[in-house]
Amino acid sequence: MKKIYLDHVATNPLIPEVFDAMAPYLKEEFGNPLSVYEYGMKAKTAIEDAREKVAGLINSKPAEVIFTASGAEANNFALRGIALARQNEGKHVLVSRMEHHSILNSARFLEKSGFAVTYLPVDKKGFVDPDTVRKSITKETILISVIHASSEVGTIEPLREIVKVAKEKNIVVHTDAVATTGNIPVDVKDLGVDLLSMAAHQFYGPKGAAALYVRQGMRIVPLIYGGIQESGRRAGTENVPAIVGMGKAAELAKAEMKNRAEYLRPLRDRIVDAMAGVDRVYLTGDREKRLPGHASFCVEYIEGEAMLLLLAAKGIFSASGSACSSKALKASPVLLSMGISSSLAQGSIVFTLGMGNTREDVDYVVNEFPAVIKRLREISPYAQGWGDREEGGEQCTVKE
């Protein structure tokens, strides 16, 4: 049976060159970067080389890159670390409703710790309005965190405009750029952000390596205490092989980014265009300002989980909502925040393409998926409509 992996926002396979770069550090080069003898020095040199490559990908200084173990850790570190470092200046934080759980749950932690948090609403395409940001700022606001692009609906936020609003009031801005870094241009100077989270496995690097960009001069309270790794800001013996892999993946992503995006966009558009012709299937997110390989929909009258299972039986591996909410069988908070009804949000399906996908794969998906929808609707109790449940299709965007 065919196996078509269409869940690249969940994770990506390693590029062989990345694996090759990592291999020595999983075998003979096993040293601890803090050790002063040869093994340690080689490991130290390897992570500093990786730091330079990651800095090159986002146009920062190497010293502004702090390695972490995951994008979630980078997000926790940013939100909690900045809130604690600046709490004498104010105790109000803004986060958008498009955020990943690692931001939303960190924000909830801050609320329990005595901070006030405002959750910024979004429009039906998932955009945060910079004017809403402006109106939500108070004298107490110290930090704004807005995701660069949602992994659930692919919408790319107007970050530059949001940063402009924040800088009028001297407020620190963090962005979760896990879905974008390595996939579309991410330039910290151009965006103007103070902190930015990224993860290697989103651009064909390994899991277990990620980073937080912290603009030079920013104070941040550590999340993990211990030794002086990462200039005394993030303790714990470094995952040297994974960091080396992240460096290699960053180098390749920088060199190949344009080609990758140009390869993925037509494949994505083929799925989006094909699904526009299927009854009561709605594109979620914006048609243009979205991630190059991202096609997400809400399918009326059926559940995402059922689609995932039937698609998987045909060798198509995709997601419903976020990777986390796929498991939890829970309506995605991101979709709900976009005004999509909870009934319709249950029918979420997300196809995310990668460099291993071909035109044939996409043809197969656009042929098989409508049949899966038809079959599920035949057995759906809501096939004739939602009954007394709310209608949802008007809130999505594909049928304009």
């Binding site: 004498n88 550590p222 200039s231 005394g232 800001r233």
Partner: protein
């Protein structure tokens, strides 16, 4: 402890919230770069620096000028010794 005010440092390093022993590593790193007679300012929130920095100066022959207590961190001033 020696307190001091209105010092004009030649170099400032902000290591507030960075873990111990970054205060000693940064101290050594910056002192190597300074010319004799120049003054380094270190900002840190680490309480152990209250003992460590004067002791380091004593050991290395550099002059510990004193410190200033800020709201949530300390400022230490060290003058590089003559050759």
């Amino acid at each position: 402890m020696k307190f001091i005010e209105n010092v004009r440092p030649d170099v400032t390093t902000d290591i507030v919230y960075m873990m111990c022993p970054m205060h000693l590593l940064k101290l050594e790193e910056h002192m190597k770069e300074l010319e004799p007679g120049q003054i380094l300012e270190i900002m840190t929130d680490y309480d152990g620096a209250l003992e460590d920095i004067p002791a380091w100066c004593e050991k290395t022959g550099n002059e510990f000028l004193g410190m200033e207590d800020s709201i949530d961190f300390y400022k230490f001033y060290i003058k590089k010794r003559a050759r």
